[in-house]
């Protein structure tokens, strides 16, 4: 599967209705509230419609006839109407706004769950900055739509429809004439909306690019400074900034076409009504009072329409953002959990803990890194993977932990296809210390207990006992403040070696059946490394260790040594043999 979101086939072009259909499930559970909100909106809009009607009636019947008593009566009616409006308006905003907030909550949760569901390959194929922009910036566009626009949207549409019905019912032909500019507007909107959305999509893509560029440059700033290429940073930033500027202008101009045109049509409608209405009065089929009322209905119809023009461009922005978000939501994890065969369940614990059977693998669009690899790891033994850089050691380890699935062949864990294990069980059995240590901001304690279900709630004393038993005390003292030492993910407050120590402790405390160390101690000094070796030796007898390292002392205690190179994983008979192969074996990198 191609996980690249910006790849042409993964780009989304959803129609307006398609997007509404996709967004609809997010509203499930909100149906009853939507109905109440609908009622409140309807009531509120009715008040907004009836009031001018009453005023027109007052003008026609009482003011022109100079009967003040009627005016007072209707003023009281109006007052009570406005009083009711106070509540309906509150209910409308409150209910619809609440829906918007909850929808946004569900949407964010949905995206986050999707991210958790997708495999490592997805994160390799996409730039972090662009992903962050999609999740932060693009959902914010939807947020603005849901929290601000939607309420007004509903209200405006109801008022408009009501005003339109009134216009037609008061005088069909005059009403139709008044609505004619709106019909033209509808066609106009239909025609330019796709263009507006395209412009906004281009702008959002450019913002994603800008975000990706800044994220990269800032994370690589050390090299920028040390190679005196501040100009490189500025130039690259300039180009994405310019691109973002140009597309934003395009989007802005597109979004702003609605407003003046809507204003124009509103005024055109007024003119039509005035001229045609005057004519109708002349021929005696209309009254002046009605015309004044009619004019206020025209503005009742066109004012919300004018608001809709602003909302409509917001809507187009939100749709463009939604496209980028749903590109993530539509990603499918191709690493599914296979059903367990009954024959597998019956299998007893065997000596073989992990087997590669005719395994081939290559990263997306690349040549094979592993080719028809076969080997078996036995319980309780220590294995070393050696070989030149780029030979495929990390890839082999990643397949053991099922970060990727082989393109051909099968990986067996305890004699069972590794794909049949659910993630919780698999990760409990396999510990993998990655080449690049990953920490979270917090304390050392939080980091070494990260994802540890068993020890997470231990008291400090109990935890210290566990750490003592595992022999990790000697490592913990290397942090000022011990368990409570602060960990900041950026910055040099912790050295790479210290980060590796934390990652090491984290994995050992999980007590896995297979522990894989991928150059996990590369930046740790040799004296400390001896401590680590002792800790590894103290692991339970049945623990299988897989060690990838360049330093020969870290692998000399291995029971078996595999030489990994050129897509092959070959068993080296002895340390000498392995060294021999390292020296004279064919080189791949």
């Amino acid at each position: 599967m191609n996980y690249e979101l910006n790849a042409e086939q993964n780009k989304n072009k959803i129609s307006t209705w398609g997007a509404i259909r996709d967004l609809w499930p997010l509203l499930s559970g909100e149906r009853s509230i939507l109905i109440y909100a609908g009622i409140a909106t309807l009531a509120n809009s009715s008040i907004n419609l009836i009031a001018p009607l009453l005023i027109a009636h007052v003008v026609d019947t009482y003011i022109i006839a100079k009967q003040f008593g009627g005016v007072v009566t209707f003023a009281l009616i109006l007052l009570s109407l406005y009083g009711v409006g106070l509540f309906t308006s509150y209910a409308q905003t409150r209910l619809m706004g609440g829906v918007g907030q909850r929808v946004l909550f569900n949407l964010r949760t949905k995206i986050f769950s999707k991210l958790q569901e997708l495999p490592v390959a997805f994160f390799n194929d996409n730039k972090a900055g662009d992903l962050i922009s999609r999740i932060n910036n693009d959902t914010d566009k939807l947020n603005q739509f849901f929290s601000q626009t939607l309420v007004q949207f509903m209200g405006s549409i109801v008022i408009m429809i009501g005003a339109g019905v009134f216009l037609l019912s008061i005088h069909l032909r005059l009403g139709a004439a008044a609505l004619a500019p709106a019909a033209v507007l509808l066609i106009f909107t239909q025609l330019i909306s796709p263009w507006v959305k395209r412009k906004n999509a281009a702008s959002l893509t450019a913002i994603g690019g800008l975000s990706a560029e800044i994220a990269e440059s800032l994370n690589n700033f050390k090299v920028v400074v040390a190679f005196n290429r501040r100009d490189f940073f500025r130039e690259r930033f300039q180009s994405v900034n310019d691109a973002s500027y140009k597309t934003a202008i395009g989007a802005g101009v597109a979004n702003n076409t609605f407003m003046p045109v809507f204003g124009l049509s509103s005024n055109a409608a007024q003119l039509i009504v005035l001229v045609y209405g005057a004519y109708l009065i002349t021929i005696g089929s209309f009254t002046l009072g009605l015309l004044i009322g009619f004019l206020s209905y025209v503005s009742n119809f066109y004012n919300p329409l004018r608001q809709l023009s602003a909302l409509w461009s917001n809507f187009q922005v939100a749709l463009a953002g939604w496209d980028r978000i749903s590109a993530i939501l539509q990603m499918q994890n191709d690493m599914t959990i296979l059903p367990v065969m009954s024959a597998d369940v019956a299998q007893k614990e065997k000596a073989e803990v992990l087997t590669f059977r005719e395994v081939s693998f290559g990263y997306a669009n690349d040549r094979d890194v592993l080719h028809n690899v076969n080997f078996t790891l036995e319980r309780g033994k220590t294995y070393a993977l050696v070989g030149p850089t780029g030979g495929g050691k990390t890839t082999t380890a990643s397949l053991m932990a099922r970060l990727y699935d082989p393109s051909k062949g099968i990986v067996l864990l305890n004699g069972r296809d590794i794909r049949t294990f659910d993630p919780a069980e698999r990760t409990r059995k396999i510990g993998f210390i990655l080449q690049e240590p990953i920490l979270f901001s917090g304390t050392v304690r939080e980091n070494i207990l990260y994802g540890n279900e068993i020890y997470k709630d231990l008291s400090t004393d109990a935890l210290m006992k566990v750490i003592h038993n595992a022999g990790l005390e000697s490592l913990l003292v290397r942090f000022d403040g011990g368990l409570d030492a602060r960990v900041a993910i950026s910055g040099d407050a912790l050295s790479l070696g210290q980060k590796q120590l934390i990652a090491f402790m984290r994995s050992v405390l999980r007590n896995p059946e297979i522990l894989i160390l991928d150059e996990a101690t590369a930046n740790i000094d040799t004296v400390t490394e001896e401590l680590l070796e002792n800790i590894l030796k103290k692991l339970p007898k049945h623990t299988t260790r897989v060690i990838i390292a360049h330093r020969l002392n870290t692998i000399e205690n291995a029971d078996e040594i595999f030489f990994v190179n050129g897509g092959e994983v070959i068993l080296a008979g002895s340390m000498e043999h392995a060294v021999e192969m390292l020296l004279h074996g064919k080189r791949e990198s």
Partner: protein, 578 residues
């Protein structure tokens, strides 16, 4: 650096200064469009009055009305275009300023500021300022014009009624003031919650591999849910205030209309007001209410932009890295560090470090994890500045050198691999001064030639962000080639050998010696055997120099050195053979 007191940011409106021309144009268009709009109801009213008297010339009226309509359309459109350009220009320039500012900063500034927060500054914070420029100016100007204009017109029509009706404005203003006071606090909180959300999302993206190895998706989900729930609750709190405010304001405005109906109706009945004036009054009162609402909403945008501007201003006001020096001399390779102390908070990462390095020599820095080796390298290379002490190259302070001429003379190979999402060629020939020849030599020295040949597009192959398809050793050798391509006088290696196999390492070091004669080498390393013959070995522990000298000297005088040596001896038989 962050502790420097920051002067209070100037008023948000001050950012408009450089764009005076555009803003004036914008204001002129906005005023014109709105004044014209104001005249429309008056036009209609006059038309009706004329019609009642039977004096209306319909076609003249229609043409006049049409002219007004078209003029309004024209100016609104111009205004929207200028508005777009102005806001995007401000945003682009501010982003550019920020980037330029950041590009002049040192490495430590970026680390202290936190790259992810700077990213928010350049994206979200600028966005809210853009909103400000795009909406606030036009809205304030048009609302002001409409409110004042309407008030004047109302007063000219009937001053008694007008004064009565205009009492709603202070009532509405008061409501806004009370509610917005409360909302502002919530806005600030919700910005902090968004920062929190972003942090959780960022960490879950950066830590994707680990989360899958540990199956800790659930845990991340919990963290996310906490932040997301808080964001929703804040959203609802803000909503609660708004859903209270909007009906109240609408109700007060409706009271204005009611006043016109009763009081105005009374005047008409009395005969002191024409029916045309009454209709005009009705239309203007509707026109009056909307801009009041707009000003209220704009004060939100202003509040948000002010918060954002303060965040950006803080970055813009941060002191620049020390001035560039003037010295342009060629480096010989002599380095003298004296009394260097570096603090990390309370703790000293380096304590009173002094040593000298002679030209064309090899120096190794050895020491346990967290001894301060990398910090020392950063100080010597001028990436961070020590609290006390100084670094001299050929007797001159590092700061005296012109950076553009100094840095090409030193090659830095960091322990963490840093790659750019561009071609392999641009990653290696990262400096502009690199010639094809020096590029070729660097690639061969770093033993990368064979690997590059296997790539379909060779040097023009694109490196993905974070170099995901490259092995640790390949990345590290690209970093080395990048440093060597500068043809440096001094080469710094930070744990370069950690991810390269022993044989390749040996070859590379031999290549360096052969291809770059006269190079001064400073190597941070864990392994003693490869550096036994070095001119100087510095043993660093807990930020202090424990011992300094040649291998044989250290073997005599330093028990700690002997301990490290012994820890490696078990394999030295193999190391020697290879």
């Amino acid at each position: 650096m962050t502790s420097t007191p920051i002067s209070k940011p100037p008023n948000i409106f001050s950012i408009l200064g450089p764009y005076r021309g555009m803003i004036i144009l914008l204001i002129v268009f906005a005023i014109t469009a709105n004044v014209l709009t104001l005249f429309l109801p008056k036009l209609i009213a006059e038309g009706i009055d004329l019609y009642v008297r039977g004096a209306l010339n319909l076609s003249t009226f229609a043409i006049q009305f049409g002219e007004f309509t078209f003029a309004i359309f024209f100016f609104t459109y111009l205004q929207s275009i200028v508005q777009t350009y102005a806001s995007e220009k401000v945003a682009r320039d501010l982003r550019s300023h920020l980037a330029t500012k950041i590009s002049h900063q040192g490495y430590r500034f970026i680390q202290e500021r936190d790259p992810s927060k700077l990213l928010t500054n350049i994206t979200s914070d600028i966005d809210s300022i853009k909103m400000f420029v795009a909406q606030v100016i036009v809205s304030l100007v048009s609302s002001g014009v409409i409110i004042i204009g309407t008030a004047i017109i109302l007063i000219t029509i009937d001053w008694k009624l007008a004064l009565a009706v205009l009492t709603i404005i202070p009532i509405i203003g008061g409501t806004f003031f009370v509610i917005l006071q409360k909302v502002r606090l919530l806005f600030k909180q919700s910005r902090e919650v968004v920062d929190w959300l972003n942090k959780v999302i960022n960490e879950s993206i950066m830590g994707a591999a680990l989360i899958r190895v540990l199956n800790s998706g659930e845990l991340e989900h919990d963290k996310f849910r906490d932040a997301n729930t808080k964001a929703r609750d804040l959203g609802v709190s803000i909503l609660r205030l708004f859903s209270f405010m909007i009906p109240v304001i609408t109700f007060v405005s409706s009271m204005g209309i009611l006043m016109v109906v009763t009081l105005g109706g009374y005047y008409v009945v009395q005969g002191s007001m024409t029916i045309g004036s009454f209709v005009a009054f009705m239309s203007y009162i509707v026109v009056l209410i909307f801009p009041i609402l707009v000003i209220g909403f704009m004060s939100n945008v202003i509040a948000q932009a002010t918060i954002s501007y303060a965040r950006i201003y803080e970055v813009l006001q941060a002191p620049d890295e020390k001035d560039d020096g003037k010295l342009v001399g060629l480096l010989s390779g002599q380095i003298d560090a004296s009394n260097i102390t570096v603090m990390y908070g309370e703790k000293a990462a380096l304590k009173d470090i002094s040593f000298s390095i002679m030209p064309n020599t090899k120096t190794a820095i050895i020491g346990p994890t967290a001894a301060g080796k990398t910090q020392l390298l950063n100080v010597i290379a001028g990436l961070t500045f020590p609290e006390t002490g100084e670094v001299r190259y050929d007797g001159h302070l590092l700061a005296e050198y012109e950076r553009a001429l100094f840095y090409p003379q030193i090659g830095l190979v960091f322990q963490d691999s840093i790659l750019f999402n561009t071609t392999m060629r641009e990653n290696i020939a990262f400096s502009k001064i690199v010639t094809d020849e020096s590029l070729k030599k660097a690639i061969e020295t770093a033993e990368l030639a064979d690997f590059l040949h296997t790539l379909p597009e060779g040097l023009d192959t694109l490196v993905s962000e974070r170099g995901t398809s490259l092995s640790g050793g390949q990345k590290q050798r690209i970093m080395l080639a990048r440093a060597l391509a500068l043809e440096p006088k001094i080469l710094f290696l930070d744990d370069f050998t950690a991810r390269v196999d022993a044989q390749t390492e040996r070859k590379i070091l031999a290549n360096i010696e052969e291809n770059y004669p006269g190079l001064t080498l400073i190597s941070i390393t864990q392994k003693i055997v490869p550096v036994e013959a070095y001119d100087q070995i510095i043993l660093l522990m807990e930020g202090e120099i424990l011992a300094r000298g040649t291998h044989s000297e250290l073997m005599r005088v330093s028990p700690e050195y002997v301990q490290i040596y012994n820890s490696q001896r078990s394999t030295s038989t193999y190391e020697l053979r290879t």
